[in-house]
Every structure is written in structure tokens, then in C-alpha cells.
């Protein structure tokens, strides 16, 4: 296996691991961690593919912006989780029960 294939597989693994965490973990903070993994998988991909098209630095710059987006998401997310914790005294979304289908 060449380096590139290996790195692409690593990215796919990171993404799947992140998605698995998002789907199985109950705590909102853990879900945020999973999302970070998914975003880092994309960063790995972007930098890897930039090496195959070395004429521009588009991929690397995109990776920088993805890091920026991840930081903003974490900041907003933790603010929202804190607010919800203030009302429900838990950060497990499954235990929030005000909003659901009522038929």
C-alpha cells in the first residue's frame, strides 16, 4: 500500500470512528468530541489531496478554515450545552423531554 492510500484509509477510519461516537454516546460533550474527529478526518484528506495537486495551496488553506470552523462550533456548542445544563441539570440530550411528538 502506498502512503497515500494508507493516509486516505486513516482519514476514513477517523471519520467512521467519529460518526460511531456521535451515534452511540449519550452525552452532548462526547458528541462534540466525535464531531471534532470527523472534522479532523476531512483535514487529513484535504492535506493529502493537496499533495497530489501541488500547483495551489487550496486544500491546505481549506484545512485551516475547517480548524477555524471547528473552534467556532465548539465555542457556540459549549455555550448552548451550558444553557441547557442550567435548566435540565444534565448534558444528556436523551433525558430532555419537553419537546416530542404528542398525539
Amino acid at each position: 500500500m502506498s502512503d497515500h492510500t494508507l493516509l486516505f484509509a486513516l482519514g476514513a477510519f477517523l471519520f467512521s470512528a467519529g460518526l460511531l461516537i456521535v451515534l452511540t454516546k449519550k452525552n452532548a460533550i462526547m458528541i462534540l468530541l466525535g464531531i471534532e474527529l470527523m472534522l479532523n478526518a476531512s483535514n487529513l484528506n484535504l492535506i493529502l489531496f493537496n499533495r497530489q495537486n501541488p500547483t495551489t495551496y487550496e486544500g491546505q488553506f481549506f484545512a485551516l478554515f475547517v480548524i477555524l470552523v471547528a473552534v467556532c462550533e465548539a465555542a457556540v456548542g459549549i455555550a448552548i450545552i451550558l444553557k441547557a445544563y442550567h435548566y435540565f441539570h444534565t448534558s444528556v440530550p436523551d433525558q430532555f423531554s419537553d419537546l416530542k411528538e404528542r398525539n
Binding site: 470527523m38 476531512s42 470552523v69 456548542g77 419537553d98 419537546l99
Partner: protein
């Protein structure tokens, strides 16, 4: 382009609407810190004035030929200008119906409105995946926070759910884009290189990457299967915010989805039939949205499902994959903006007087509050798609274009979509007419107070109703304007 600095200055001079909104955003922050009294009134006036000025500039001072700015990141053309006009109008209507904020948070509230509009304007004109992600995130993050502005238990829950669903969708989308970048070798989805490389390598990887990317856009426009957040968010967020986020981010998503699907469709040379994929999504959105809406007892939850169905109808215009379809989609977007705000404005008036409402508790209020009730009736008739309102005209146009596309391509799925779409008009009658039925025909149980008089809200209802009737009687004026828009990827 020799001098990068010169190029940037030239680009900024063509982005005046966005610059105005950014300036207004900064002034809002400063005024929020300085002002002690009358904060809400002053900031509301500032927001309305800046949106009005931006609309004026969009309509009169932008070049009609398409111009690339910032080294190909953004393109100004008639298509994006029309969407900017819609976003700014949506902004004006949303700010208009916003009541005073609790806990002295007016500045943050209007700040987030500005941010959503700024993001939408940039999204509609972006031509590069970096720009798409950045502006999409600007919209998303601001709308997560706006959802929490009810400052109660429900609102916090809705906001958290919206955030969790939204970030996962974004993460999937960024991963999809990273693979598309690997295949295409460029992030500029209008370039020759993008087209050439995607045609050359048509592997299943492209299909997966395309679907991942599509997920992010479909989440923004609340299409099935990414609609699960909508009912919770619509129920929990303050009504003016719901009215706003059910229109502006959705239309922004439609704008960028149009560009993306046309890019990945590769002028029909793609190995995968994106027309069929979009038809199925549109079909499911219409069907699941309408069927789920029937059982709802909360008016805002019902409107959430109705909005899922409406995005299905908006997608029908895109499915036709032609200039006609896009024109009729623009017309439908305009009408959708008007009728959605009409309904939410009236609902907001009811909520201001009676607090949180179920559909049953509206019984017999029709005669006590005649203007909002009539507004709701006309809004729902238009959402169903019956004459004599513009909703009928819009549906007629959009299904006309679908029929044309079917005759051209002969795809069976288009015919199925056509039939199901028309049948759904009947299904939607059941739940759209439920609220007017309770308002006018059901007897009220106890004596209720009459509604608080709200001149600004009534005036807005009147204007929107006139627009709906006007667009039914003579749609050709607006269509004439829209038909001048040429859209080249």
C-alpha cells in the same frame, strides 16, 4: 489582477450590500454597549434602515453582467442578486415582527439577524467550496443561537438539538467536499478543471462524496431525511425567529444547492443520475411532510412539517434541470417568503395576546380577532395552492416545468413526482384548513379576551395579503423580471 491589493479593493466596492450589513452589525454591538434606554427601538430602526439601503443598492447599483470577485471566491450575477433581494426582504419582515427582547438582549438578537443575512448573501454568490462552508457556518451558528432566544427550558432544548444535528450534518458535508476535492483537484466548482476531472473519473466514491455533501445542504433546507430537527426547533424558538429561519436560511440553501447540483450533474455527463436522486428526495419531502403534519396539535409543529413539504415543492423546480425550472423556483421562493411570513405574523399576534397555543385553544377566536384570523386563512389557502392566491400560480408554474421536463426526458420518476405532488394538494387541505376551521366554525368554550390591537402587525398582514393577490392576478410582471435572469454555472 496584477496587483492583488487593487483587486481586493475593486471587489469590496462591488460588495456594498454585504459591507452595509457588516457595518450595521458592528454599530449594533457598539450601540448595545452604550445605550441604556430605548435599545430595542433604536436597534430595530437601524436594522430596518440598513436592510432597506442594501435592497436599494442590490436593485439599482449592482452590475448585471456576472463578475468574479476575490480571485473567483464570489461571483456577483443576477441570480445571486435576486436571492439577496429575497434575503433582505425576509430580514425586514423578520425584524418587523420581532417584539422587545427579554433580559436586555436586543443587541445580541439583532446582531445574529445581521449575521444570518450576511451569511445568506455570501452563500448565494459563492463559487468556491471554502466560501460555501464559511458562509453556511455563519448562518448555522447564528441560527442555533437565535433558537435559544426564548430563554426558557424548551428553547434551550430546541437549540441544543438543532446544534447537534446541524454540526453532524456539517461535518459529513466537509468530509464529502474533501473527497470531491481529491477527485476534482480544485475547490472551484465552476471551473473547467472540475468538470474535466469529474467526467474522467466516475467512481462510486463520487456518488458517496456527492451524497455526503448533499446532506449538509438538505439539512439547511429541511428536506427528508434531514428534517428531524425542524419540529422541535419550530416549536421551541420564539415565533419571529421561526418565521425568519424557516425562510432565509432555507432559500440560501436552495440557492447554493442549485449551483452544486448543476455542477455535479456535469451537464448530464455524470455517470450517476442526480435528477433521479433529487426527485426521490423531493417526493419523500412532500409526502412525509404532509402526512406527518396531519396529526399535529401544535400549530408551530404543524408548520414545521408543512415547511418540509414546501421545500419538496421548491426542489421540484430544481429537479426539472433547466432554465425554466430555475425561473419558476425563484417565483415559488418569492411567494413562499410572502405566505410564510403572513402565517407566522398572524400566529405571532395570537401568541402575544394568549400565550403559547395549541390548535384546540384557538377555537372560536375568529370573530374576536378578525384581521389575524383572515390573514391565517388566506396564508393557508395560499400554502395549499388554491386560487385566488399566488400559491396557486406558483404551484401551477412549478408543476408545468416538471411536466415539460418529463416530456423531454421520459424519466418515470418525474411522472410519479408530478402525480404525487398534485395529490398532496388534497392531503394538505386537511391540516391547512384545520386552524381556520377552529377559528371560525368551532364554538369557543369560555369567554376569551379580545386580541391586543397591533397596528404594525395588521399593516404587515394587509401588505402581504395584497402582494399575494397581486401576484395571482398579474404574475407576469414578476415573471418578466425573473425571466431576465440568466444563470450560467
Amino acid at each position: 489582477m496584477n496587483d492583488p491589493l487593487q483587486h481586493i479593493f475593486e471587489s469590496v466596492s462591488l460588495l456594498i450590500p454585504e459591507v452595509i450589513i457588516t457595518a450595521s452589525l458592528i454599530i449594533t454591538i457598539l450601540l448595545g454597549l452604550i445605550l441604556k434606554t430605548n435599545k430595542h427601538v433604536i436597534l430595530k430602526t437601524l436594522a430596518l434602515a440598513s436592510y432597506g439601503l442594501a435592497i436599494f443598492i442590490v436593485l439599482h447599483h449592482l452590475p448585471t453582467t456576472s463578475t468574479l470577485l476575490f480571485g473567483g471566491m464570489i461571483r456577483i450575477d443576477e441570480f445571486s442578486s435576486y436571492f439577496k433581494f429575497l434575503f433582505l426582504t425576509g430580514g425586514i419582515l423578520g425584524v418587523w415582527i420581532s417584539g422587545p427582547q427579554k433580559e436586555n438582549s436586543s443587541a445580541e438578537y439583532f446582531l445574529l439577524f445581521h449575521a444570518v443575512i450576511l451569511g445568506s448573501c455570501l452563500l448565494a454568490s459563492s463559487m468556491n467550496f471554502i466560501m460555501v462552508i464559511l458562509s453556511l457556518e455563519l448562518i448555522s451558528l447564528s441560527s442555533y443561537l437565535l433558537t435559544g432566544f426564548g430563554f426558557n427550558k424548551k428553547s434551550a432544548e430546541g437549540s441544543l438539538k438543532y446544534f447537534l444535528f446541524g454540526t453532524v450534518a456539517t461535518a459529513c458535508m466537509i468530509y464529502g467536499i474533501s473527497i470531491i476535492y481529491g477527485i476534482a483537484g480544485t475547490l472551484d466548482f465552476s471551473s473547467e478543471l472540475f468538470l474535466k476531472n469529474l467526467i474522467a473519473l466516475s467512481s462510486p466514491l463520487l456518488l458517496i462524496a456527492g451524497l455526503f455533501t448533499l446532506a449538509g445542504f438538505l439539512f439547511k433546507i429541511t428536506a427528508v431525511p434531514f428534517h428531524l430537527w425542524a419540529p422541535d426547533v419550530y416549536e421551541s424558538a420564539p415565533t419571529p425567529v421561526v418565521a425568519f429561519i424557516s425562510v432565509v436560511p432555507k432559500l440560501a440553501g436552495i440557492a447554493v444547492l442549485t449551483k452544486f447540483t448543476l455542477a455535479i450533474h456535469l451537464f448530464g455527463q455524470s455517470g450517476y443520475n442526480w435528477q433521479v436522486i433529487l426527485s426521490v428526495i423531493s417526493l419523500l419531502s412532500i409526502l412525509i411532510g404532509n402526512l406527518s403534519a396531519i396529526a399535529q396539535t401544535n400549530p408551530k409543529r404543524m408548520l414545521a412539517y408543512s415547511s418540509v413539504a414546501q421545500s419538496g415543492f421548491l426542489l421540484v423546480g430544481l429537479v426539472a434541470f433547466g432554465m425554466d425550472g430555475i425561473h419558476f423556483m425563484l417565483f415559488y421562493s418569492t411567494v413562499f417568503l410572502v405566505m410564510n411570513f403572513l402565517v407566522f405574523n398572524a400566529l405571532n399576534q395570537f401568541e402575544n395576546s394568549y400565550g403559547e397555543l395549541g390548535i384546540q385553544s384557538l377555537a372560536g377566536l375568529g370573530t374576536l380577532s378578525i384581521i389575524p384570523s383572515l390573514a391565517i386563512l388566506i396564508g393557508f389557502v395560499s400554502l395549499t395552492g388554491l386560487p385566488p392566491t399566488a400559491g396557486f400560480t406558483a404551484k401551477l408554474f412549478i408543476f408545468g416545468s416538471l411536466w415539460g421536463a418529463y416530456q423531454q426526458s421520459g424519466e418515470l420518476i418525474l411522472l410519479v413526482l408530478f402525480v404525487i405532488g398534485l395529490l398532496n394538494t388534497v392531503i394538505s387541505l386537511f391540516f391547512y384548513l384545520k386552524i381556520p376551521y377552529y377559528l371560525f366554525i368551532k364554538e369557543k368554550k369560555e369567554t376569551a379576551n379580545s386580541i391586543k390591537s397591533d397596528v404594525a402587525g395588521n399593516l404587515l398582514s394587509l401588505i402581504l395579503v395584497i402582494v399575494l393577490f397581486y401576484l395571482f392576478i398579474s404574475p407576469d410582471k414578476l415573471m418578466g423580471w425573473i425571466n431576465k435572469i440568466t444563470f450560467v454555472l
